[in-house]
């Protein structure tokens, strides 16, 4: 039983980090119907900003998170304006290919020696690691930080989307951006804001990832990005609670497969779950079918 609960905690740790990334995918998809493949790399940039803030400037933890959030937000807004906006009315495939291009650009450009460099860097822990033993179940303060920061971000996001004017505009644009524009919503601004908001969460995720798994390199965004994307699809892409649910399911299924079956099947079974869910419910667990408007 202790073994099971310990594994649940392990699964929650990775699941929460996936959730922060998955939210960015799902929000952007919800509004512009674009799978932003560069999102995983924005997450990587967040981790690097965190690395510099911790190692070079020794900023306090809050400042580390704020710097990563600000940096990623600016970057994502720039990407949106330079790469995606000119293609807003082009066929969807053009934006998709551009997204892949931006992703490769970020990975290889930052791996130049003049930027971050092509190596693996160890991420110093900004605080000492303490672990608590509760009836044989070990919880570390890293896991506590991940839990509280993620929950805080989720509540904040929920507040922004459902309690602010901008949130209402986002929901309106997501529902029908042409009509929203006719009603006086500044669609371009809302889209930029959505990219920025998703990137801010990815920035937080990047720093948490660096703290939890203390090593960063410029290609680190690829796998978590892919997993988070899968989680977003699993939960129903475009749906915010769905992304969190999907991420937690991904985290648990990966951990449980490693724990009770074999680590060799871990990724395989996680993706089999995805396929089964999509067969049963093609829009994802919480996704709603979208009726074609005539």
């Amino acid at each position: 039983m202790e073994y099971f609960l310990q594994q649940v905690i392990n699964g929650l740790q990775i699941g929460f980090v996936y959730a922060l990334i998955a939210l960015g995918y799902t929000m952007v998809y919800g509004i512009v119907r674009l799978i932003n493949f560069a999102h995983g790399d924005v997450f990587m940039i967040g981790a690097f900003i965190g690395l510099y803030a911790v190692e070079r400037y020794q900023w306090p933890l809050t400042a580390v998170f704020v710097s990563a959030v600000v940096g990623c937000t600016i970057l994502a807004v720039l990407i949106e304006q330079l790469a995606y906006r000119p293609l807003r009315h082009a066929p969807k495939i053009a934006s998709l290919i551009t997204a892949i291009g931006v992703s490769l650009f970020l990975e290889y450009f930052t791996s130049l020696r003049q930027v971050f460099g092509p190596n693996f860097y160890s991420f110093p822990r900004p605080f000492a690691v303490v672990s608590w033993n509760w009836h044989g179940i070990l919880v570390t303060n890293i896991q506590a930080v991940i839990f509280f920061v993620t929950v805080f971000c989720l509540l904040l996001l929920q507040f922004i989307v459902f309690r602010t004017k901008m949130g209402r505009a986002m929901r309106a644009v997501s529902f029908d951006y042409v009509t929203a524009g006719l009603m006086g919503v500044n669609v371009n601004m809302v889209i930029s804001f959505t990219f920025g908001l998703g990137a801010a969460l990815a920035g937080v995720g990047g720093v948490l990832y660096g703290i939890a798994y203390p090593q960063v390199n410029t290609f680190m965004g690829f796998m978590p990005g892919l997993k988070a994307f899968t989680a977003a699809v699993l939960g129903g892409i475009g749906n915010i609670p769905g992304a969190v649910l999907g991420a937690l399911i991904m985290g648990q299924s990966e951990t449980m497969v490693s724990a009770y079956v074999s680590s060799a099947y871990r990724d395989g079974i996680a993706f089999v779950i995805l396929i089964l869910v999509l067969l049963w419910k093609p829009t994802g667990i919480l996704g709603t079918p979208r009726t074609e408007k005539v």
Binding site: G11, P118, N119, S122, S258, S263, A264
Partner: protein, 381 residues
């Protein structure tokens, strides 16, 4: 990757279109080095490059080979198999090198060895320990050589050490399923440990890009091993060790020569303290060859040479010696001279090539104490 690909393409095309064009007959002999100067095992690549340069410089101050100076071409492979075969193509087809030193890890050296074999360019690696580097499907790649022992030897050494010195009854193994080196040693260790009546209580794999080992380590912890064997390179080992400590795992950590980097302690901190690993030489050895070499390297680069650099120094010297004996730049003759090398005195021991191009040598065991490598004992084959 694209750049080197296009260079290779240009090289191949220019050969195809201008069959009469040959590189100008310089009075130099070209030798290539493939080594990871960036990426996840960068410290390996750097010390290998340093050692290679020292060896070539020494050969050149002694008058070169057969009155000709040695010129070098150094290519970075980022510890990526695709990059490594691009690098080998570049060296063989564009730079027209007569011999290659490298690459450093097994997963990159295996593709290099296949290209070297098909192009008949004698190649010697200092450090790739996987058996498949010199033999494929039971067939000897007769242009491939190495100056290190193989994984079957070091896996057995560590199993013996864990069972004997550490009196471990149960052991756990975590390895990278996508890495020939890691997988190879893990298998040898498991079989040897079981043969010595030990029990392998957990045998689990992870992927190349994994950073979260908490599920595996919880599983390992539940199986209560006396030792945890981690056959991988320092960056991964550092991450695993750190998470193992945070999970409260008490097993002793042991591993192979992939641990040999100052960065191991940087990543793992005190989590790796007290760990043991097998290596090819110790800078604390008092044999005159070792003392001289360590002094020379320290003067030039201000740090103690690791085993990878040292092995490459031996490999490069063996190659130079073979070229001298062949007294020719014909790759076939250089190959024959390398294969017939006997009793060559290197820093890491005395070399005689066996029929597979693998030397027969002893290993040393090193412990990490106070964040430094301390020489423990020599193990003979």
């Amino acid at each position: 990757m694209r750049r080197s690909l296009s260079l290779v393409a240009v090289a191949v095309l220019s050969v195809a279109f201008f069959p009469g064009c040959k590189p100008p007959p310089g009075n130099e002999m070209k030798i290539g080095l493939i080594t990871p100067l960036s990426g996840d095992v960068k410290t390996f690549g750097e010390s290998v490059k340093n050692a290679f340069e020292i060896a070539v410089e020494e050969a050149n101050t002694k008058g070169g080979v057969g009155g000709r100076k040695i010129a070098t071409v150094i290519v970075d492979d980022r510890n990526d198999p695709t990059e490594a075969s691009n690098a080998a193509n570049l060296l063989i087809n564009q730079h027209r090198v007569k011999a290659i030193v490298g690459s450093v890890t097994s997963k990159t050296t295996i593709p290099v060895s296949d290209l070297a074999q098909s192009s008949r360019i004698p190649t010697i690696t200092g450090t790739a320990t996987n058996p498949k580097v010199t033999v494929a499907d039971g067939k000897r790649k007769d242009y491939m050589f190495r100056s290190c022992y193989t994984d079957s030897f070091q896996g057995t050494v560590m199993a013996k050490f864990a069972r004997g010195e550490l009196q471990a009854v149960t052991s756990a193994v975590l390895y990278d399923a996508s890495n020939d080196y890691s997988k190879g040693i893990a298998e040898v260790f498991r079989d040897a440990f079981t043969r010595m009546e030990g029990k392998v209580s957990a045998y689990e794999s992870y992927g190349k890009d994994d950073v979260d080992f908490s599920a595996l380590l919880t599983k390992v912890k539940a199986s209560k091993p006396d030792v945890l064997f981690l056959p991988d390179y320092y960056n991964k080992v550092g991450l695993i060790a750190k998470q193992a400590k945070e999970q409260g795992l008490e097993a002793k950590l042991i591993g192979p020569d992939g641990w040999d980097s100052p960065d191991l302690v940087k990543v793992a901190g005190d989590a790796i303290e007290g760990g043991y690993f097998s290596n090819h030489y110790s800078p604390e050895d008092t044999r005159p060859e070792v003392v001289n070499w360590v002094k020379k390297y320290r003067e030039k680069f201000g740090q103690t040479p690791d085993a990878l650099g040292t092995l490459t120094y031996d490999a490069t010297n063996m190659l130079v010696e073979a070229i001298r004996r062949a007294n020719s730049d014909d790759p076939g003759k250089i190959r024959d001279a390398l294969a017939s090398l006997k009793g060559f005195e290197g820093v890491t021991g005395k070399f005689t090539m066996d029929e597979n191009g693998d030397p027969i040598k002893s290993a040393v065991i090193i412990q990490i104490r106070d964040g430094k490598q301390k020489f423990l004992q020599v193990v003979n084959p």
